[in-house]
């Protein structure tokens, strides 16, 4: 939900003088102010009538407005001033250290190299002797990554060659200038500082820049800048103008920058790479674009009101992980830094036309394509993990070994969620719940936004609208459904509010630069921001979710953390001052971690309240690397526009690539009101995306699925039903994601890494390996062209069972009911066709197996079953995990985990074999007995249907076609 009203900073300051309040750019904001600003509201509203619907870019910094980015970006590639002091090299078996010196200012840096298990190289660069410690990101890595021995292969005056394990991979450290190259055989996979853009602004005592007109200080600050500094020295005026070193002002907000310039930067070259992905969150295509001539991609968690599409502006979350891919190899770069970060991308082929590339090919141009990347962060250290693949799945595994895997959500969380800002009161909730039953549309979760609270005091209920929350929750539980209530991190400053008093008394609030409790404006008006980076604060927060603390809560109430960038309506760029303090660290150092910690603490609370038995479900808007461990993420406050529907695909694909699989966009669009056609298409798309939740802004007309006439209700019902039928597959995919770190929603190239035609596709996607989805995202579409990958493979239309060959662009005529989805030949997918009003109601229902044969007449799949909501699958191994294989006309179910134990009432009611031929006889072998199975054969589509074989879903069995 939410938004970040385009507050004009100048008006913000007026607030203090009583001049007139900031302009709330929507009514939720206004509602927040209502309590205090009463009469002024009408005035505010009238000012707003002409407001536009696009993002107010002026509220957010460009690189040029962010002094360190501007400073760093002004550096041009060239000879690096850094030199490796090889005689300082020390090697313990898994750690190599080496000093670097900046020959211009003689500052020493310490380089640490590690070889980590699973083909990962870690490169750390910090000051050898900083004035005070520099921030190193805690809590994101799941542990100290296990190392493997490093060995020196050779060493001379020019450098050192290290062995990176068995695959003839070497790491070459060049001394002058300092540079790192990772080689495999004769090939360079990746180089660091090859363009000489390593720049480490060392901590220093403040000098008076005014008395240093020569600009020497400026020159020193970007330590890598010396080579340019010589040229610029003549231009003293320019140096003088370069400000923002010890203080920087954006709009009316001044950042005091007590530590001065502290930014770090490093460049990476990727020879042979033309496709890079990742570094969410941006509203942009899957394949990252070069940033020359525009701003770099920015990573700085911000509440962006009505964000624009297809640009590199920062959004709500940040995962500093980039994937590089070509037909030979996939690699990853994980830049572990939580400060404001900018990423520049350039390419030597980006400017070339297809014709130009052909010409190179014909003329035998020796130039290999290359992508260059440069990371710049405002503070902290350089700590990079280079994940060397080589396969996409290897990179996912490598990244998961560092930051963990997707939490395994309760099954219900994968079902349909009905949200709106706001369901007005208990009666409204009840009426909506009944509406779903009346119109026979399934749903599992109904959501309450901020209006459910008593004056935006989270953990409380509005006494008039929600006087009996437990009665309401019980009513929902009686339907075997659940609820989510919002709990935002900003805390109303109100001495009558218990949570506030406790946090204040325990001294848990973030401090402003002068040491007092930091306060900013958010929904409740004046708010404090708990310091979630403090483990004691997180423990306190977690304890607030206990049933006896959170009054009116019950076990079917889950949580939504919004506004956790953090959003501060009257702060710079709508967030917290960078010089606010978290203990001894500045907010600057860890900004991008705030939302991560909020969700971590909330998730811990939900686990604790059940005594550690129940799996939590927490949705967050802000996130960082590792957030996948704590729950779900959504793409924030989108809009009811076709382009927003389209962008939901690359946005979630990008998140999946960096570990966050449980991703979704507000179905229908948050701002504005969708046309009926758009709403239906969005349901059809959302039904095939991981987190499937409809949501709407307070000011939009109601849009529950039955409000658009029987025809559209039927279309929406059908889309939701397709989701429910496919829940066993979704659940199994999330189990896999949890176990292995593989993404659930995948770009095509992940499964077809050598198929260059797939590398830039982001209007269709795979769920797991086996389902390909190309939702209709064009208004008025009569047809679309889907790319079916895979030479020699086949795909089956899941609705008609028609078979299509792989490696082709397939034109598909569509109607309003069409959701083009294909099952890969060679896969087996379980479904539950008895769609009921909630996923819990379907628990014991039988399965139908869809066996889609490949041209070799074989297929394989899995079936995973557990209780759907507890940790028993982990703690007691209470689950069923079956391997299903079809080969040589025999379908077999085998146990994949012999020590697991779980029993289910579910059975196999039907088996469909797609691409089959007609057998004479079908028999089932189970428990040493053989029985005959009835079947039907549809010759037109070559579909063999086995009627009610009836075996238990957890049993060993074999079905033979004869």
């Amino acid at each position: 939900m939410l938004l970040l009203p385009a507050l004009r900073q100048s008006e913000q300051t007026n607030l203090v003088g009583g001049g007139g309040w900031a302009k709330p750019n929507n009514t939720k904001m206004a509602a927040a102010l209502n309590e205090r600003m009463g009469l002024l509201l009408g005035l505010c509203f009238s000012l707003l009538l002409g407001s536009t619907s696009a993002v107010d870019r002026g509220n957010f910094k460009t690189c040029a407005q962010s002094s360190f980015c501007k400073r760093q970006r002004a550096l041009k590639p060239g000879q690096s001033p850094y030199r490796a002091l090889l005689d300082t090299l020390e090697l313990s078996d898994s750690r190599l250290t080496l000093q670097l010196i900046n020959d211009n200012n003689k500052v020493h840096l310490l380089l640490e190299l590690y070889r980590l298990q699973g083909n990962i190289t870690r490169v750390k660069i910090n000051e050898l002797k900083p004035l005070k410690p520099r921030f190193e990101v805690p809590d994101v890595l799941v542990g100290e990554p296990p190392t493997e021995p490093l060995s020196v292969l050779s060493k001379d005056d020019n450098g050192v060659v290290l062995s990176l394990g068995p695959e003839s991979q070497r790491l070459i450290v060049s001394a002058r200038p300092f540079r790192l190259d990772i080689m495999e055989g004769p090939q360079v996979l990746l180089s660091l500082n090859s363009r000489g853009l390593l720049a480490f602004e060392h901590l220093q005592l403040r000098k008076n820049t005014q008395v240093d007109p020569e600009g020497a200080e400026v020159k020193e600050n970007v330590d890598g800048a010396e080579q340019q500094g010589e040229e610029e020295k003549a231009d003293g005026v320019k140096d003088k103008e370069e400000d923002g070193l010890w203080e920087e002002t954006f709009k009316s907000h001044t950042d005091s920058k007590p530590s001065g310039p502290t930014s770090v930067s490093l460049d990476f070259s990727l020879p042979g790479v033309e496709h890079v992905y990742g570094i969410p969150e941006h509203a942009d295509n899957l394949k990252l674009k070069t940033t020359e001539g525009g701003d770099p991609y920015r990573l700085y968690n911000l509440d962006v009101f009505q964000y624009e599409l297809y640009n590199p502006m920062a959004l709500y979350g940040a995962v500093p992980v980039m994937l590089a891919h070509n037909t030979q190899r996939t690699m990853g770069i994980f830049w572990l830094n939580a400060a404001e970060t900018w990423v520049d991308i350039s390419s030597n082929t980006a400017g070339k036309t297809v014709f130009g590339k052909m010409l190179d090919f014909v003329q035998g141009s020796s130039e290999t394509p290359q992508t260059d990347v440069r990371w710049v962060s405002e503070s902290g250290i350089i700590d990079v993990f280079i994940m060397l693949g080589p396969k996409p799945s290897d990179v996912f595994t490598q990244y998961a070994s560092l930051t963990g895997t997707q939490s395994f959500p309760p099954l219900a969380a994968l079902a349909y969620h009905q949200c709106r800002w706001n369901y007005n009161d208990q009666e409204d909730v009840k009426a909506v719940d009944q509406g779903f039953d009346q119109h026979d549309v399934p749903y599992d979760f109904i959501w309450l936004d901020i209006e459910h609270t008593d004056g935006k005091r989270y953990f409380t209920w509005d006494p008039h609208k929600f006087p009996q929350p437990k009665d309401m929750l019980q009513g929902i539980m009686d339907k075997r459904r659940m609820m989510v209530a919002i709990v935002d991190p900003h805390i109303k400053v109100d001495s009558g509010y218990k949570i506030h008093n406790e946090i204040r008394d325990k001294n848990f609030y973030v401090k402003n630069k002068d040491g007092g409790d930091y306060e900013g404006w958010c929904w409740p008006g004046n708010s404090g921001y708990p310091d979630f980076t403090n483990p004691e604060m997180r423990a306190f927060w977690a304890s607030m979710f206990a049933y006896d603390q959170y009054e009116g809560s019950m076990e079917n109430l889950y949580t939504w953390n919004d506004m956790n960038e953090p959003s501060v309506f009257n702060g710079p760029e709508v967030t917290m001052y960078k010089d606010a303090m978290h203990g001894s660290w500045e907010h600057r150092d860890l900004h991008n971690l705030y939302g991560f910690y909020v969700q971590m603490a909330t998730t811990e609370g939900l686990i604790q309240r059940s005594g550690g038995t129940e799996r939590p479900f927490v949705l967050t808007r802000a996130f960082f690397a590792g957030s996948q461990r704590y729950g779900a993420v959504w793409t924030g406050d989108n809009a009811a526009e076709w382009e927003h529907l389209k962008i939901s695909i690359p946005m979630c694909l990008s998140l999946g690539l960096v570990g966050i699989s449980l991703c979704g966009a507000d179905v229908g669009g948050f701002f504005k009101s969708p046309s009926t056609e758009l709403l239906v298409r969005w349901y059809q798309t959302g039904a095939y995306q991981p987190f499937f939740r409809a949501h709407a802004h307070l000011d939009t007309p109601r849009r529950e699925p039955w409000l658009f006439g029987p025809e559209n209700t039927a279309l929406i019902r059908e889309a939701v039903r397709q989701r429910y039928a496919l829940l066993p597959y979704w659940y199994q995919q999330f189990y896999q994601a949890h176990k292995t770190g593989q993404p659930v929603m995948r770009p095509l190239w992940v499964e077809y890494p050598k198929d260059t035609a797939s590398f830039a596709i982001d209007d269709e996607f795979l769920i797991g390996r086996d389902l390909l989805v190309h939702p209709v995202t064009e208004e008025g579409a009569r047809g679309l062209t889907a790319y079916l990958p895979g030479h020699g493979e086949v795909w089956y239309d899941v609705h008609t069972f028609q078979k299509h060959n792989g490696a082709q662009n397939l034109y598909i005529p569509v109607t309003m009911s069409s959701i083009p989805v294909f099952q890969r030949g060679g896969s087996i997918i379980p479904r539950k066709l008895r769609v009921r009003r909630s996923s819990a109601c379907m628990e014991n229902d039988p399965y139908t197996l869809y066996v889609a044969l490949n041209p070799q007449r074989a297929a394989e799949g899995e079936l995973y079953i557990d209780d759907g909501h507890t940790f028993s699958f982990q703690t007691k191994k209470e689950f069923i995990h079956r391997s299903l294989t079809f080969a040589y006309n025999t379908l077999t179910s085998r146990n994949l985990c012999t020590e697991s134990n779980f029993s289910t009432k579910s059975w196999i009611e039907k088996v469909l074999i797609l691409g089959a031929s007609k057998p004479k006889k079908v028999t089932l072998q189970m428990d040493g007995k053989e029985t005959s199975v009835e079947f039907e054969f549809d010759a037109s589509m070559s579909v063999l249907t086995l009627r009610k074989p009836g075996m238990n879903a957890g049993a060993d069995w074999t079905v033979k076609l004869q």
């Binding site: 007005n424 009686d478 075997r480 000011d699 007309p701 039903r721 008895r834 009921r836 009003r837």
Partner: protein, 545 residues
Amino acid sequence: MTGTHLLFISLALSLGAAVEVQRPRGVPITKRQFYDENLPFTCLDGSRTIPFDRVNDDYCDCKDGSDEPGTSACPNGNFHCTNAGFRPTFIPSSRINDGICDCCDTTDEYNSGAKCENTCKELGRKEREVLQRMAEITKEGFLLKQQLIEEAKAGQQERQRKLTEMQNSRKEMEEKVEALRTVKETAEVPEKEAKERHLKAWEEQKATSRAEKDKAKMTEAFFELDDDADGFVSLAELQTHAELDSDADGSFSETEAQALFGGAEQVDTAAFERVWSNIKDKYVSESQPVEPTPVTTPPEESKEPLTDNDSEPYPDDEDILEEEEEEEDDEDDFAEEDLDKATPTTRSPEKKEEDEEAMPPYDSETHALIDVMPSEVAVTVLSSTAAQKARDDFEESERALREVEDQIKNIEKEISFDFGPSAEYTYLYSQCYELPTSEYIYRLCPFNRVSQKPKYGGSETNLGTWGAWAGPEENKYLLMKYEHGTGCWQGPNRSTTVKLTCGKETAVTSTSEPSRCEYLMEFTTPAVCQDPPNVDSSLPGHDEF
């Protein structure tokens, strides 16, 4: 009547139980004949025929779901709950054994472990009570409605009668207005002449008065100039008035002065008349400061007397209290001030002259003449009084006509509303009904508007003005739509739907805002009550017969 009822139900109960064994689970008695266990079963859509043992075998064979009436196997199947004692119903097959009790007779949860209790009896009893109550309300409401219809009819006739009457009197009045207009215009002729006469006289008088004033000024100037009081103004005496410097070179030379005297060395009072006409525009009296103090920007010190001056209409707010206290004392001061004012101390002569010329505004002067005129215009007085009376009469008649026209318009507007098939909603017209909630007072004025006023201060919000009846086709009088209320931020204009239900009272019973700026109001009125059908036939428990 109640007794008979209970008998029927118990009969239904035993019958229901008896029937249950004779048909497959989930099949309504009306379809029993299609499920004969001795014959193969043909799907009800005729699509295929299957052995009877595949009916309710928990596998869906028929596309229409008809082979699995009692299981959840078919996605589009329906399950029939007998619900003896209450209302029988169909539920979707997906609700069979889903752990949630849907049928009050518990028959949908035969294999799920859900603990369901048979609540049909209780539900039936409650529903009958509700229906009974509703029936009573409907009955009474319907009676009231008949009254309303009668009243409306009477009212309508009354209005029609009144309208006719009004239309007639309008005609009369129009004639009267015309007649009086003629009278007025005739009466106004002498008055007009008198006015013109008066105007002319006034202008002559003004000219005379101007000349006299000029002469007085001249005399005053003469004596001012004649410093040695010898009865002549000499060149030197004239030269003391530097403002008369004709070439404006800063020095008023003797030659220049002589030129003004027409060559003479000195002038007497008679000769000064000619001189005066040349210098009067420039001449500055010695009795006033050379630099006139502009009244518009008085210096701080002079503020006090100005404040007391009655030319300042309103005292400063802060002074009010003080002044009121001092009022009595001030009165004397005022008198003195008035006297002082006669000497033009702080005003420029131009200003004074303007004041004098503007003093007799034409209209008030005329009226004064008409009302209290001395003897020479006595005739005018008489005729003017007659004209005034004619005018008053004419205006009176016109006003009366307008009133009648307004009333006709109102009646016609009222008649133009659609007050229902029997005009039963007429009584709501020009009435308002309120419902206070915790925050607001909602107000419905049927056929006019809906509004919301905060309880604790703040202005009223228009939630819509009368649009149209908006109920379903079969009875559009069940919903009222009020539209085009106050606009919402980034949203539509507020609108309200009023749902009418039968009740003895006329009242707003609830309000809500289901969607942003779209309000829903529930309203009870006898006018919507339908002729109550036979209560018995609408009660449940009969369908199984």
